[in-house]
């Protein structure tokens, strides 16, 4: 087990190093940032001076070495656009994204698993067929379209929910939260629902399929035969076995969540990390883009590693040589 964890850690480091290299190569291909940084009326000499000031005139390997050195010291460079450390810019936006994503995940997980169980019990009931049709819609409507549809219905036609922004926020320590004000919660509903929809449908279908398989297993039949109450059979015996892959998938889908968060934040003008990334693309703000990618990689890799290790601990059948 220790060997397994050590190996996973080593692999994680290798992947991060690869990501950093790719990120650095990106610098080369994203066009020259110096021209915009020097101002509209700068001459060539003045442009070159800016280039020197940001160390962009040095050979590739020197720049890469410095980049890695700085990253190891937690310094991802200064944003070309705002001229403050890129990491700080991203961390400032972190609470907004985190709140949106975690509310969406909780929503998706509770409703997805709940409805999945419900549907698997009486697959042919009209209501459940309706839910399944809904889940088909959930996996067939792209996130961006879902967002726009919700805005059209709830903001444009009904006018009951705000279509953009985070609303009123309060500061708790360094954390700025929108969960404690009514206005903040109101602003959260549409984007969180948009972000949750796809995952909800996926988890619902996964739970239903798992339940259908488990319900035919011998031990469930035995449990029924023993005269246990349906609640006990479903929740204690069946669901427990279904939940392991469901939780694993939830953990592994974190990358998807980040990607869909970018889309959702763009549509709802949510002041999170994804929104920052998109505007950084438009402004060619390379240090911010690179920092974002590195942060996302770090989070995803860490999460995956935790899921894998937990999975290995739960499931002794898997042997890792």
């Amino acid at each position: 087990m220790v060997t397994y964890i050590a190996r996973r850690l080593m692999q994680a480091v290798v992947v991060l190093l690869a990501v950093s290299t790719i990120c650095f190569v990106i610098f080369r291909y994203m066009g020259d940032p110096v021209i915009t940084m020097a101002g509209r009326y700068a001459t060539l000499q003045e442009i070159e001076e800016v280039r020197r000031a940001f160390g962009l005139d040095q050979p590739m390997y020197v720049q890469y070495g410095r980049f890695i050195w700085n990253v190891l010291h937690g310094n991802f460079g200064k944003s070309y656009v705002t001229r403050v450390p890129a990491l700080g810019l991203i961390l400032e936006r972190f609470p907004a994204t985190f709140e949106l994503a975690s509310v969406a995940v909780v929503m998706a997980f509770c409703l997805g698993v709940g409805l999945g169980v419900l549907v698997s019990l009486k697959p042919y009931a009209f209501r459940n067929r309706l839910i399944m049709a809904g889940s088909l819609g959930g996996i067939s409507i792209p996130t961006f379209l879902m967002g726009i549809l919700l805005i059209m219905v709830f903001s444009v036609y009904l006018g009951i929910l705000p279509p953009f922004g985070r609303g009123e926020t309060v500061r708790v320590g360094f954390w700025r939260t929108g969960l404690l004000t009514i206005d903040g919660l109101k602003h959260l509903i549409l984007p969180a629902a948009t972000l949750a929809m796809y995952q909800l449908a996926v988890l619902l279908r996964l739970t239903r399929a798992g339940m259908r398989e488990v319900m035919t297993e011998e031990y469930i039949k035995t449990a029924w035969a023993k005269g246990l109450s349906p609640r006990k059979v479903i929740f204690k015996h069946a669901l427990r076995n279904v939940l392991i892959p469901v939780i694993t998938i939830t953990g592994l889908q974190f990358g998807e969540l980040i990607a869909f968060a970018i889309i959702t934040e763009t549509i709802f003008q949510w002041p999170g990390m994804g929104n920052l990334l998109l505007s950084s693309f438009y402004e060619n703000d390379q240090p911010v883009i690179v920092t974002y990618i590195m942060m996302a990689a770090l989070i995803i890799i860490t999460l995956n590693m935790i899921v894998d290790i937990l999975y290995a601990l739960i499931n002794p059948k898997i042997r890792y040589g």
Binding site: A6, R7, G321
Partner: protein, 320 residues
């Protein structure tokens, strides 16, 4: 008469990888110093419990498994030193029948394709001859050529094993290695297949190496029998000698496991105590000693070597 195949001190050790950098932490001693010889037209039986290395020995002869050391000489050529093309030619002369007739046939090919496959590989029986050959083979193993258009899962287990035999025969080999060819079949079918093998041997002058986990299967076909335990030969003799006068305690135990042929048989059934030890860490001395009823003091010190006890009957035991 010259030997068709000689195996000399064959060893197959599988490394066990461990740790962060996959260093070799130990070996599985699957086959550990096996030697025997086979003459043209003769049949050899290799017998032992599962895990004793008999299948590995069979596969190593065809280099389906790479051996660690030793020599296997087929028709005077060391197959471990063969070039690729020589090895390819060898595969024409030596064929295998597999244990499980369900998994040994490609489910996405009809029987005709399965039989044509080896001929295509070796470019044998070109043109129209190939179809004729397939029909001929089908008839030889007791199937009709019309059945060649069907998929394997449309046949019964016995029929499938006939297909497997037909495939082995396709290139007209000299030696066929049968890896427990009947153990997956019903007892009633077993006899039919064994009879088929006997008929074919006579017709085509084949040599067999038959691998089995009990002596019952090999007794009708094999002239000579090897008993293996944990990668080593413990006894080898002609089948008559072995049946009439088994020497090694392990052989005796195996023999006693054969269902009694007629009532009133006075042989006592010997039940082996314990499990087969792990080949990763075999017991010191004679590997059989922990389960042996005749254990002596030197048994766990040094492994006994094969001793000739008369008329090409060898046994590795301190009792003799």
């Amino acid at each position: 008469m010259e030997d068709l195949l000689t195996v000399d001190n064959l060893k197959v050790h599988f490394p066990i990888k461990k740790g962060l950098f996959s260093r070799t932490a130990g070996f599985v001693y699957a086959v550990d110093g096996v030697s025997f010889a086979l003459k043209k037209g003769e049949s050899l039986g290799i017998v032992g419990e599962s895990g004793c290395g008999k299948t590995t020995t069979g596969f190593a002869v065809l280099r389906l498994i790479e051996p660690t050391s030793g020599r296997v000489v087929f028709r005077g050529k060391d197959i471990f030193r063969m070039t690729k093309s020589q090895l390819q030619a060898l595969k024409k002369d030596v064929q295998i029948i597999f244990q499980d007739p369900y998994s040994s046939l490609n489910p996405r090919m009809v029987v005709n394709q399965i039989l044509r496959d080896p001929m295509e590989i070796h470019g044998a029986y070109p043109g129209r001859e190939r179809g004729e050959r397939i029909a001929y083979l089908m008839e030889k193993v007791g199937l009709t050529p019309e059945q060649g258009r069907r998929y394997p899962h449309e046949f019964s287990g016995g029929q499938r094993q006939r297909i497997g035999i037909a495939r082995a025969l396709a290139l007209n080999p000299e030696l066929i290695i049968g890896d427990e060819p009947v153990s997956a079949l019903d007892v009633s079918i077993q006899a039919q297949i064994i009879n088929l093998l006997i008929d074919l041997q006579q017709e085509f002058d084949l040599s067999y190496i038959l691998i089995a986990h009990d002596l019952a299967v090999v007794e009708h076909i094999c002239n000579h029998i090897i008993v293996m335990y944990l990668g080593k030969i413990v006894e080898t003799a002609s089948y008559k000698a072995l049946y009439s006068d088994p020497k090694h305690p392990y052989t005796r135990a195996l023999l006693s496991a054969i269902p009694v042929a007629q009532p009133g048989d006075d042989r006592k059934r010997i039940i082996l105590q314990g499990d087969v030890p792990s080949p990763i860490n075999p017991p010191a001395g004679c590997a059989f000693h922990p389960r042996c009823a005749f254990r002596m003091s030197q048994c766990d010190q040094q492994a006994p070597v094969l001793k000739n006890v008369g008329d090409n009957h060898h046994v590795a035991c301190y009792l003799y």
